[in-house]
Structure formats: C-alpha cells, structure tokens
C-alpha cells in the first residue's frame, strides 16, 4: 500500500474499508483528490458513494484504512475538527433558528467572537445572495433558498473541503439546473476542494473536474468526464453514463483476413481504426457505441455501414431516437428531429469504430 501522502492532495483516502456486520460496504478504497479539485462520486443507489462521503466527513466510523485532509491524518478526528463543511440533500437546516442563527451555529459552538461571526455571515450572505432572508425561519424559504442557506452554513466556517451529499435531488428540474450553475460558479470563485455525491450523470458531467464512478463499494473509474464518457473502462461505466444509453452488440472478436473484426449474427465490423487498450484475444465480446456516434442516411463513406428497418421512433424534442434491429439486437440512433425517419422505413446507418468501446465477454473490461 502506498503510505506516502501526495503533497498536493487535499483529500486522500487510503485503503478505506467499512463493514456493517457481515456486509462490506466499502472495500479497500483509495482516492486522491487534488487541491481545489471538484470531484463527483457517481453511481447507482446503494453503491456506497454517500457512505464514502460520510466516512470522509467523520460521521461514520470506518473499519480500516486512513483518511488525510490537507496532509493531516484525520482518521480518528471528530467531524468538526476535520476542516470540512457539508451540504445535505434534505438541507438539514435547524427549523427553530432563523437563517442567520443557522449560519452562525457552528461558529457560536466554536466560540468565535461576535464581530467575526457578523463579518463572515455578511460575506457568505453576499456571495449566495441571501441577505434579505437572514431573519427568516427555514419554513418560510423555498427549496432553492434553503439549499443556498445550507451551502452558506458550510461557507461561513471557512473550511478547506466542501462535501455535498446529493444537494440538488430534492429540487425540481428547473431549479436544479440553475443551482448547478451556481455551484459551479461558487467553485470557480472559492477554489475550494469539493466532493459532490450524486446519481445524476448530468450533474456529474457538468460539474466535475474528475468523476469517480462507483459500484458495490468499489471505484470503477476515476477520471475526467470526457475520458469516462468516451473511454469507459468497463461495461458498467459505459452503460451507466449517457442518456439514452450506449448500444451494446453481443458477438465475437475474431482475427481474420483484414485484421481484427467484431462479428455478430451476419455482420462484421472491421476494427482497423479502433484503439485497443490491450492486446485483443479472440472470443466473446460486446461492442458498444453511443447513439449519437451513429450516422443515419448520411450519404458519407463510413468504415462500417449497413441497412436496417426502423422499428420505433421516439421524439425527444431536440433530438429523435430511432430504434432499429442490428444483428437481431436492439440498437438506437440519435438524429436531429427534422431528419427523423418514420417507423417501417429502411435506412442506412454508418459509424466509425474509432468511437466505439469493446468489452470482453466475461469480466466486461475494456479491450
């Protein structure tokens, strides 16, 4: 195990494990987060992402491993001693206190002088534009305002690291996208390290410097959003990101004349342009390609093209999703609404395998 703390790391998790009785929730997890970085923990519910955040915050006692914040071993420290601020999904504002008292609670507990408290509240209120709300009770605030106050509570404490636990999940779609932008602006302004838990891939893609995709208490991939999106390390990551999801064709990887190709029920996709991650081995495999990387009736010359019959057409406003059968398997293509074919029409599809992802048949790892 690597026992040195990277000097630039703001948060460093080393060999973290957490067991609830016989159930292992987090399994020997390692994570290094650079100073000022915005990291999103993304995964389906029950993958351990919120648990990991709670461990970093010190709200859960871990079974094994160490946690460093700003180079300091905080594994056994109380949450308040770790230099973190946390924003919760349900806002968790103290209902009996005004906004001002909510903001100052942590400082009052710590015994900060009055004028210092006033100064910090004024600053936070200005940054978050909640000055007119300071004397209100949380019950008299809207969801967006409550979440702003919750962020303010972390802000006034002048912490090194912000932890967000699905902060936007309780808001409606419009507010969510507004606050998403605000959080991004806040990060740019404050330049704090931020760790953000969500199951919403749009939030993850738009906010993150790096995304950690988790499943079953294990980090599957930890990389910049475009890398995660375009070069997923395994089939789970490939399928979890993207909406509509990636197309997967089940078939075999074969080495024939003309080099490696992917064969499935009557079709053969040449892989001469595909960038292999490791040396290919013949055998069962899955070929994944995103709906927007497939051209429909483009008239251009693609490394692979074929004709197919349209089964279903799903208009989604800006785009239309066209469902076909390729090699007897469901396959979707994303086209502009104005170019959408009708169901039953015969169309030509084409794509470049360069943009595809190949996974082996057993472990689902990228080839």
């Amino acid at each position: 195990m690597n026992l040195t703390v990277p000097s630039s790391a703001s948060v460093s998790v080393q060999g973290l494990s957490l067991d609830f009785g016989a159930v292992s929730v987090l399994k020997s997890l390692n994570l290094d987060i650079a100073d000022g970085e915005f990291v999103v923990l993304l995964g389906p519910s029950g993958c351990g992402k919120s648990t990991l955040l709670n461990c970093i915050a010190g709200l859960l006692d871990i079974s094994d491993g160490r946690i460093f914040i700003k180079g300091k071993n905080v594994t056994w420290q109380e949450p308040a001693e770790r230099g973190i601020g946390m924003v919760f999904q349900s806002y968790a504002l103290y209902p009996q206190m005004t906004v001002e008292k909510n903001l100052s609670f942590g400082l009052r507990v710590a015994g900060t002088p009055k004028d210092e408290i006033a100064r910090r509240i004024a600053r936070a209120a200005e940054i978050l534009q909640i000055e007119p709300l300071l004397q209100r009770k949380p019950a008299a605030l809207s969801g967006g305002q409550r979440q702003r106050v919750a962020i303010g509570r972390a802000l006034v404490r002048d912490v090194d690291v912000f932890l967000f636990d699905e902060p936007l999940s309780n808001l409606d779609a419009k507010l969510r996208s507004e606050l998403r932008v605000e959080i991004k602006l806040l990060h740019r302004k404050l330049k704090n390290t931020m760790i953000y838990v969500t199951h919403d891939q749009i939030e993850a893609m738009t906010l993150a410097d790096r995304i950690a995709v988790m499943r079953g208490g294990v980090i599957q991939q930890f990389d910049a959003p475009p890398v995660i999106y375009n070069r997923p390390v395994n089939r789970f990551v490939a399928g979890f990101l993207g909406s509509p999801g990636m197309n997967f064709l089940e078939g075999r990887l074969e080495d024939g004349k003309g080099g490696w190709h992917f064969a499935a029920d009557g079709i053969s996709i040449p892989l001469s342009t595909y960038g292999f991650e490791r040396n290919p081995v013949a055998g069962s495999a899955a070929f994944g390609i995103r709906p927007e990387h497939v051209a429909l009736n483009s008239g251009e010359d693609w490394p692979f093209s074929m004709t197919a019959t349209v089964e279903v057409v799903e208009p989604m406003g800006s785009d239309t999703l066209v469902w076909l059968l390729v090699a007897g398997q469901k396959f979707s293509v994303r086209v502009g609404a104005e170019r959408a074919p009708a169901a039953g029409e015969t169309v030509t599809i084409g794509f470049d395998p360069m943009r595809a992802s190949l996974f082996d048949g057993e472990a689902g790892k990228r080839i």
Binding site: A57, G58, A80, Y94, Q96, G106, V109, R153, R157, D165
Partner: protein
C-alpha cells in the same frame, strides 16, 4: 358540439359538478344518533356526580338522582376540601392535594428529563449494546408491578427512603422510564438524521445537540410525556398507599379513606365533591393541552 347534444340529450342533463348530499339522510341520522347516545351514556355519571355534589343531604335522601339541585349549595365542596376526616386528620382533601403536588411535580420532571436523554442517546448515538439495553428496558415495561412491590419496599428501607416522598418520587420515576424512553426514542428517530449530522459537522457535542437542536424541536412529544406522567402519577393509588405513611398519603388514597369511612352517615354530596376535586387536575391537563397532545401522540406513535 350541436350534433353531439342532438344525439345524446341525456348527456346535457346528466350530473355535473358537486354531488348533492341531503343533511337528513338515513346515514346521517344513524351516525349522529349513535354518537349522541354514546355521548350521553358516557357523560351521565359525570352529570350525576356534579348534580349530587351541589345538593344538600335532605335533597339527596329524596332519591331523585337525575334531578337538578333545587337549592344549590357549595357546602359539600368546602367540606370535602377542608373539613372531611380521614383517620386522625380532619383537614379534608387539601392535605392530600398538596402531597400529590409534591409527589407529581418532581416525579414528572425527573422521569422526563432522564427518559428524554435516554431516548435521544438510543436514537442518535448508536452506542455499543444499545439494542440490548433498549430490549431490557422494554421488557421491564411488561413486568407486573405487583411482582416488584415488596422488593422495592426492601430497597427503599435499606437506603432509608421508605415512607418518604423522595422514595415515592424515585419509584414513580423508575416505573415511568420504559414507556417514556420508548416514546422519546421513537420521536427522535423520526427527526431527520441529517439534522443530527449537520449539527455534528457544526461541532456540537452530545449535550449541545440535545439542548440546542433536539429540545427546541420536541415540544409536542414533551407535552405528551408530561400528560402521560401527570395523569399516571396523580391517579396512582397503589404506590402511594404502599410506599408512604398516612401523613404523606397522596390525594387518591385520601379520597378512598373519605369515601370508604365506615363511621357515621354516608355523605354522598361530600364524596362526589371530593371525587371531582381529585379528578380535576388530570381533567384540566387534558383541556389545556388539547391540540398539542394529539399532535404529539401522532408524532411519537409507537414504531420499530
């Protein structure tokens, strides 16, 4: 539109808007009739008590127990409060009243203070062995009092508190513990866990969170606990008679001694007045708390 109405005239005349309901339907008559009968049945004894307590003895001897008093007199109430004899004392129920106050107030405060902290610790600070502790406490609630009567007599005697108000307060506090702890645990468990987490991140400790976050949010459940304890302890007879001595008997025991005295004439009006006086405190508590009580009962509903 015109074609459609021509074809189906009934659609135009059909039902529209709110469905009309008759006030004097058979359903309503049966419903309100039943409620009225049950209410009268339940209130009748109270009516008889109030009416009898306001009559003089000659009027009572006529035997019209449902008749309102011809000549209203408050003499029975005065006698019940200040003059009725129990054993050697002839200062009425007033002595018992003040004894009961001196028993109830400290018992209520002590038991609720301890039980609320208990419930808070069990709900929010899941310490090792919390489940076992809680199970033992709940099992305690199901052990019949009679089994423990004599052992407690011995314990109180050994620590020198037998026959004192302090001893009785202690007994009441202990016996209130299981149900109150359960009540508070369930209430605190129903509060959002994230509030507790937020307070911890803000640096508040065990007592800080309890006093500054949890307590201000718990008014309804405290009202419920206060009501349960006041009525329970005020109405207690068994512990009062077992663990105190005649000078310190609570009101209920004195009431019994007045009503069941075998000497002389049975003064029904005084007995009724004494009973009403004794029942006044729990009754007042219910009236004053009203809405809060219902809210708290719903909030602390027994679950998991």
């Amino acid at each position: 539109m015109s074609v459609a109405t021509a074809d189906t005239t009934s659609a135009a005349d059909g039902p529209r808007g709110r469905k009309p309901r008759r006030t004097l339907s058979r359903r309503n008559i049966i419903l309100y009739g039943t409620l009225f009968v049950v209410a009268v049945y339940y209130l009748l004894p109270l009516y008889v008590m109030v009416v009898t307590s306001l009559k003089g003895m000659p009027e009572i001897r006529l035997g019209h127990i449902f008749a309102p008093p011809v000549e209203i007199t408050f003499q029975p109430w005065v006698k019940a409060w200040a003059e009725a004899c129990t054993g050697l004392n002839c200062d009425g129920l007033s002595r018992g009243f003040w004894n009961s106050v001196r028993i109830t107030v400290p018992s209520v405060i002590l038991s609720i203070a301890i039980a609320s902290v208990n419930g808070y610790a069990l709900a929010n600070w899941r310490f090792k062995g919390a489940e076992v502790f809680f199970t033992i406490l709940i099992v305690g609630a199901f052990i019949p009092y009679q089994v423990m009567l004599y052992p407690i007599v011995i314990i109180l005697r050994e620590i020198g508190l037998y026959g004192t108000l302090t001893g009785l307060v202690l007994v009441h506090s202990i016996f209130g513990m299981p149900i109150l702890t359960l009540l508070f645990r369930n209430y605190f468990a129903s509060l959002p866990e994230e509030l507790f987490k937020a307070a911890r991140v803000d640096g508040a400790g065990f007592w800080g969170i309890y006093l500054r976050i949890m307590l201000p949010m718990s008014l309804p459940i405290f009202v419920v606990a206060v009501i349960i304890q006041i009525t329970g302890i005020w109405n207690d007879f068994l512990f009062g008679v077992v663990y105190t001595k005649p000078d310190l008997y609570p009101m209920t025991v004195q009431l019994n001694n007045i009503v069941n005295s075998v000497q002389g004439v049975k003064e029904y009006n005084v007995n009724m007045a004494a009973t009403l006086l004794t029942g006044l405190v729990p009754l007042l508590v219910y009236f004053v708390s009203g809405k809060l009580f219902v809210r708290g009962i719903a909030a602390g509903a027994v679950k998991g």
